[in-house]
Symmetry: none
Subunit: 227 residues, 2 copies
């Protein structure tokens, strides 16, 4: 559960200062003094804090190599003493996710690391769904039916999105609770029914003649594959 930060910094004073601040912010810090040492410590790291000014241009080379390795997706925060535009382009070009110019404050460092983790672990694009006249844009959180916007609540949207993502497949109420509500939800299965009713109202679906949300008696619900 603990988040591990891999720190690659040759200068001892900076390294220890950064380590101190990051540990104080609750991270597990693995500090390395050389590029080689850092490379061998990659496994298990969640985010990398890398000194741009390692000897022999090692910083940029290290980063390029990282982006061609199996750790390519790892977020990298670069530390640099130079703040010119040239360096920025070069650094981003090499694949850094963010930048921090020395000197920096402890709070800023922690905030940037936190932001990187948010970006990497948080939201990746999920794309869009289309079933018949129903359109769902999962990234934008937008739902439309027959080209006019649907105003859905969060539960409604999540439930509809889940069912629409797997058309034709039947899900039991318990499965839906696990997947949409979350496994730690404590409550009755009939809650699902209520939200299905609401969704049907939005879609103009009749329970007896459903075009989209079909009841499978004794099993659960499913989104029809043929709208």
């Amino acid at each position: 559960m603990a988040v591990t930060v891999l720190l690659v910094e040759d200068e001892t004073s900076v390294r220890e200062a950064v380590r101190f601040h990051l540990e104080r912010s609750g991270y597990v810090v693995r500090a390395c003094a050389t590029a080689l040492e850092g490379w061998e410590s990659l496994a298990g790291a969640d985010v990398v804090v890398l000194d741009w000014m390692l000897p022999d241009e090692a910083g940029i080379a290290w980063l390029r190599r990282l982006r061609d390795s199996s750790f390519a997706g790892l977020p990298v925060l670069m530390l640099t003493a130079r703040a010119s535009e040239m360096d920025r382009v070069e650094g981003l070009d090499a694949g850094a996710d963010d930048y921090l110019t020395k000197p920096f404050s402890a709070a800023e460092l922690a905030a940037r690391v936190r932001a990187l983790l948010r970006r990497s672990s948080g939201e990746r694009p999920r794309g869009a769904l289309k079933v018949g006249l129903l359109e769902l844009n999962l990234d934008a959180g937008f739902a439309a039916f027959n080209s006019s916007e649907l105003h859905l609540t969060r539960r409604e949207f999540d439930l509809l999105a889940f069912l629409a993502a797997h058309p034709g497949r039947v899900y039991s109420r318990q499965e839906l609770l696990d997947k949409v509500w979350g496994v730690d939800f404590i409550g009755g299965e009939r809650t699902v029914d209520q939200h299905i009713t609401q969704l049907r109202a939005h879609l103009g679906d009749e329970p007896s003649e459903p075009t989209y949300l079909e009841t499978v008696r004794g099993k659960g619900y499913r989104m029809r594959a043929d709208p």
Copy 2:
């Protein structure tokens, strides 16, 4: 900050491949499948990668329109399947800054984008936005509603501009803090609410019946696409 590439490409496979390579090179990629969607995503982009072969000659028309708009200075890299001299002349004539013929290598793509950015760095026009009665000039920091000037504070302007640059899309409070306040902002998410309230007062928007700034309960806020 991060360099944003606007990608307009209708073919999903190509779009995702290009997105992957560009993101791997450290760019923020805003991918659009249609000319219209791309047009609405122009604000804030630093460089455009445009598919020449969009349906209905949309590519060339889009580019010509761009060159007549407030985004005229934006560097544009065109992708094309045809390499004939005719196309090249036509494309450069329409205002493309550079050319790339499919299939192309990831390295070549990144290199060309980089070159374009270098060429245009120094002068970076960001253009103007218009949503309904609301007009924003990002260069001048000028805002107008119903043709009369709005006196917005810096935060208000930045927040409004960001939301207006991506109409229809929902942003969580955390995303807004990251993008508008900056990733190193340390503070509560409710701060966003306060500024939304202020903006609504400026725009005469009611929270219950918003014309512009819409609350998406449990998710965040968004600028309505249809003002």
